[in-house]
């Protein structure tokens, strides 16, 4: 059985700058469980791409294996997608990006896909500063293989089978900051108001942008005692700041609550507006971001928002000085030294 979303257009839907309505950014019908957090994130991605006026064919979406990694089929059907192998999406994204630096690369992974089998590739893609957005749909369990604990499951949390996780959990956001990721955010699948601007800002970031999204698995990890259930997250969420993405300097002034706000100018001149909740919050300060994440964890809180950003990020292409033109557009004339040169090489080998 195949699942293709039936196409019907609502004439009243608003068009974005490119003339596309939001449904143009949708994908095939999701086959995930009803209520799965991952579907909410897909909806957020669709919304963000629509609002950012992304040309879908100028974006490539990549993933590993897992329920989470299936989602690229459920958004942006006009983008090329690549559902690779378990834990190895970062390497495929790296190769793709090296071949064509002009596209936007959007990676989706799960906590199993990233924090266990794919930990090596996750660490190294950060180290290389690949220009991509990397979203982990983090449900603290292996959804697709039916609910085993993952490495992000909190110590002491109970899984569906009633077993308590005995091991320390891996905190992906602080790890990413530690490893030098230049954009690290955390959010909750149920908080679209926060998630959409974060995704937009991540896609606009000129280096590696990581978003760890807590995404409850309704089937295997929404039980009492799980720290990644809807109820737990709603009760224990702590936001760093409310974030609003303002592309290309178009000032939108939305004030949330009574917090102060701070503008962060991105590399390309666009602005992320942060509404500070914590008095000492400075997303440009790596050290305090680290501290805040660690402190929140100690209090069993999930700190959400933009934790850290370095707007002057350099990506892999800058570092290894690849040509500004995408490598996949270079022709034989530009790439092949030709027979005359080969004769010279031969002569040197005699």
């Amino acid at each position: 059985m195949t699942y293709v979303r039936p196409k019907f257009r609502h004439p009243e839907l608003q068009k974005n700058k490119l003339g596309y309505t939001v449904d143009y950014y949708e994908g095939a019908l999701s086959t995930l469980c009803a209520g799965c957090g991952h579907d909410s994130i897909s909806a957020g991605i669709i919304q963000a791409a629509y609002e950012m006026n992304i040309e879908p064919h100028k974006l490539a979406k990549l993933s590993g294996i897992g329920c989470s990694s299936k989602t690229p089929a459920y958004f942006l059907s006009n983008s090329h997608g690549f559902n690779s192998v378990h834990g190895r999406m970062p390497s495929v994204a790296t190769g793709a990006n090296l071949a064509n630096r002009d596209l936007t690369y959007f990676g989706v992974s799960g906590d199993g896909d990233t924090a266990s089998i794919g930990m090596g590739q996750f660490v190294h893609v950060i180290r290389r500063s690949l220009n991509m957005t990397y979203i982990v749909m983090n449900n603290g369990c292996y959804g697709l293989t039916k609910g085993q604990d993952s490495a992000t499951a909190d110590q002491g949390s109970k899984n569906k089978g009633g077993n308590v996780n005995l091991f320390e959990s891996i905190d992906l956001a602080s790890l990413a900051i530690e490893l030098g990721a230049t954009f690290v955010a955390q959010s909750f699948s149920g908080d679209k108001a926060q998630l959409v601007p974060l995704i937009k800002a991540a896609m606009n970031h000129p280096g590696f942008a990581f978003i760890n999204v807590i995404s409850p698995c309704v089937t295997f990890n929404n039980n009492v005692g799980s720290t990644k259930s809807y109820d737990y997250v709603r009760e224990h969420i702590g936001a760093t700041a409310t974030v609003d993405f303002v592309p290309e300097m178009q000032e939108i002034s939305i004030e949330y609550g009574k917090g102060t706000h701070k503008n962060v100018t991105m590399h390309d001149g666009s602005v992320i507006q942060l509404h500070k909740l914590a008095e000492d919050w400075n997303p440009l300060d790596r050290q305090s971001a680290m501290n805040a994440v660690i402190n929140a964890k100690a209090k069993n809180e999930i700190l959400t928002g933009l934790l850290y950003v370095n707007p002057d990020a350099h990506d892999l292409h800058d570092i290894i000085k690849t040509s500004d033109r995408p490598l996949n557009t270079l022709t034989k004339e530009e790439l092949c030294p030709g027979s005359e040169m080969l004769n010279e090489i031969n002569a040197d080998l005699r």
């Binding site: 064919h57 100028k58 983008s79 997608g81 690779s84 190769g95 040509s323 500004d324 270079l330």
Partner: protein
């Protein structure tokens, strides 16, 4: 005048050195001088998996007849390593020579009555001539080259020329080197009879031939093939493939105006990542490759299955070494054949190329990219340590400027415009090869979801049995198409001349051809075929079917190529007789002859007894 027992241009010299003492360049100087004198010469590095301190050997065969395989029997051993001396002395053939550092007297136990000793006080001479400790170490090597030049009649000015080429830009270093050469020359002049009864005589046998390592040729081939993305993880003996690609790219691919690179090379965190990058880049339309050896191929298995099933061009160079496991990492073998042919779980098979010479390494890379993109599948270039890390006399590398890169069936925006509905896996041409699109081509047409899961012809996920099987059958159709696209084997005779044939591939070529010559001299005729690729085409099938017995020569224990022939062509196993070599050293003609003759004798006996 050559005496009766004199052997011109036909001998083996082995150097016994210590790893990391600068012997490599001196030994290469020796080899290159013989090459420059127009005489076929084959050096083999026999080195430990170690950086400094362990024994290492360099064996040079000189062959007027142009035999470039290894040969047993050491005519002259140059000993500069006390550690291995006892065994080195044992390795010299009766009547052969042992050149050693006579700064210290040889122990009685080191004296063999049936060989000749040539003592040159290398250390003592160095200590007298040089003050710097490093120079004393390095010039020991050059002194013995000088001594050998006199003993073997190597032209001194050829050595001088090579030195001045080597130190171009550092001319200051030339006189000290020439001085060391002369020290060696003079010492032999003063103390020994020269030249030896085996020696070099100038010929013009090499014409336009070059001398290059297979790995350099592969790296250069990738540049000529238009590869722009290379990802790799270091492993002997494949590392120098990517290093060569790096060097040649730095030379030819840096934009003169912007200073930016028209290539990207990433040292990955492991081989899984390296092949993942290659797959990602190829999926996105760049020519991309990686190089590794057996352990790396083992790690790449899952990804190779993905590339096979999702149909993504992938070029991989496997420079084979001695397995299993870490095995003998600095010794040669052809033992990854099964692993490469069927890499990954499920029904998978991969296109393999088997180059024999550096020239073919270069061409294999050109072919590998055309085939990988033409067939949208992995192509594995199967070389080995012997070919990759030794200098080989090779025909010059050639490139036809009119050769275009065959990028395969890729639809551009204009082509997509004309299509009602794009189906990534629709077999429109009925050859099993379907049309692909690259990301970013067209705003509303041609996008699809690449996946390792089962899908229908429109790339939509499906678990429908018929659709799955339909796809698997198409992949076999593609495999059949591949048979006519891969390089055809080299068949040595126009018409069969014997009921017996020999079959070989890769670096067994030199030894096999030499063995054939010797058999011919003994009036034993065998037909021959050299495989260049997998899948096997009809020529391979015909060769095997039209002979009673086929000797399958290969360098592994388990007769992997024989298995592959049996599996893929349904050959009667009794027909295929294995000639195997798996001691980690390159195969020799003698070894082949012994195994072939034993079997020929026993089969003729059994024929007679039947009558």
């Amino acid at each position: 005048m050559a005496g009766k027992t004199d052997k011109i241009n036909d001998f083996v010299v082995r150097f016994a050195n210590v790893n990391g003492t600068g012997s490599a360049s001196a030994n290469f100087l020796f080899t290159k001088a013989i090459f420059r004198m127009g005489v076929p010469v084959t050096p083999k590095n026999i080195f430990p998996s170690n950086i400094q301190g362990l024994p290492t050997w360099y064996e040079v065969r000189v062959s007027e007849k142009g035999y470039l395989g290894r040969r047993e029997g050491i005519d002259l051993l140059v000993s500069v390593n006390p550690q291995s001396m006892l065994n080195d002395i044992k390795s010299v053939r009766t009547g052969g020579y042992f050149l050693y550092d006579s700064s210290k007297k040889l122990h009685a136990e080191y004296i063999r009555e049936d060989i000749n000793y040539i003592g040159v006080p290398l250390m003592q001479m160095c200590n007298e001539a040089y003050t710097d400790a490093r120079q004393r170490q390095l010039f020991k090597n050059i002194i013995y080259v000088g001594a050998l030049a006199t003993l073997l009649d190597i032209e001194f000015n050829v050595l001088e020329d090579l030195l001045s080429e080597q130190f171009k830009g550092k001319e200051k270093l030339i006189p000290a080197n020439v001085k060391a050469l002369k020290l060696g020359v003079d010492y032999i002049h003063a103390n020994y009879k020269y030249p030896l009864e085996f020696r070099v005589e100038r010929r013009d046998l090499l014409k336009d031939k070059i001398m290059i390592e297979g790995n350099s040729a592969c790296g250069l081939g990738a540049v000529y093939a238009g590869a722009t993305v290379a990802a790799w993880y270091p492993i002997t003996p494949s590392t120098s493939v990517v290093e060569a690609f790096m060097d040649y790219s730095a030379e030819f691919r840096v934009d003169k105006i912007t200073g930016k690179n028209n290539f990207a090379i990433v040292q990955a965190e492991d081989e899984l990542s390296a092949i993942g990058m290659v797959i990602g880049a190829s999926w996105n339309g760049a020519r991309s490759f990686t190089a590794t050896s057996g352990p790396g191929v083992s790690l790449m298995n899952e990804f190779l299955g993905l590339a096979y099933f999702a149909e993504i061009p992938t070029v991989l160079v496997d420079v084979q070494r001695t397995g299993p496991s870490t095995g003998m990492p600095t010794r040669t073998q052809q033992s990854d054949i099964m692993e490469a042919a069927y890499a990954s779980h499920g029904d998978t098979k991969h296109v393999l190329l088997f180059p024999s010479t550096p020239k073919e390494c270069f061409e294999s890379m050109l072919d590998a990219f055309d085939l990988a993109e033409g067939l949208q599948t992995p192509v594995i270039v199967m070389t080995d340590l012997d070919l990759g890390m030794n200098d080989h006399v090779s025909p010059p590398l050639t490139f036809d400027d009119s050769r275009e890169y065959k990028r395969g069936k890729v639809l551009d925006a204009a082509a997509l415009e004309k299509i009602e509905k794009f189906g990534r896996y629709l077999d429109i041409d009925k050859d099993g090869i379907t049309y692909r699109t690259l990301p970013g081509t067209h705003p509303s047409k041609g996008s699809f979801f690449t996946r390792g899961t089962s899908r229908d012809e429109y790339a939509t996920y499906t678990e429908d049995s018929a659709a799955y099987q339909h796809n698997m059958d198409r992949l076999i159709r593609k495999w059949d198409t591949a048979k006519n696209m891969v390089p055809a084997p080299q068949v040595y005779q126009k018409k069969n001349e014997s009921k017996n044939g020999i079959l070989f591939f890769g670096t067994s070529q030199y030894a096999a051809e030499e063995a054939m010559d010797i058999l011919k001299e003994e009036k034993i005729v065998v037909d021959a075929i050299r495989l260049k690729s997998f899948p096997f085409n009809k020529d391979v099938e015909y060769f095997i079917n039209s002979h009673d017995t086929v000797f399958v020569i290969e360098q592994n224990r388990d007769a992997q190529m024989k298995s592959l022939l049996m599996i893929e062509l349904g050959v009667d196993p009794k027909k295929l007789i294995s000639v195997l070599n798996y001691d980690g050293m390159p195969i020799t003609a003698d070894n082949i002859l012994n195994q072939v003759k034993v079997n020929l004798r026993s089969s003729s006996k059994s024929l007679m007894s039947k009558n």
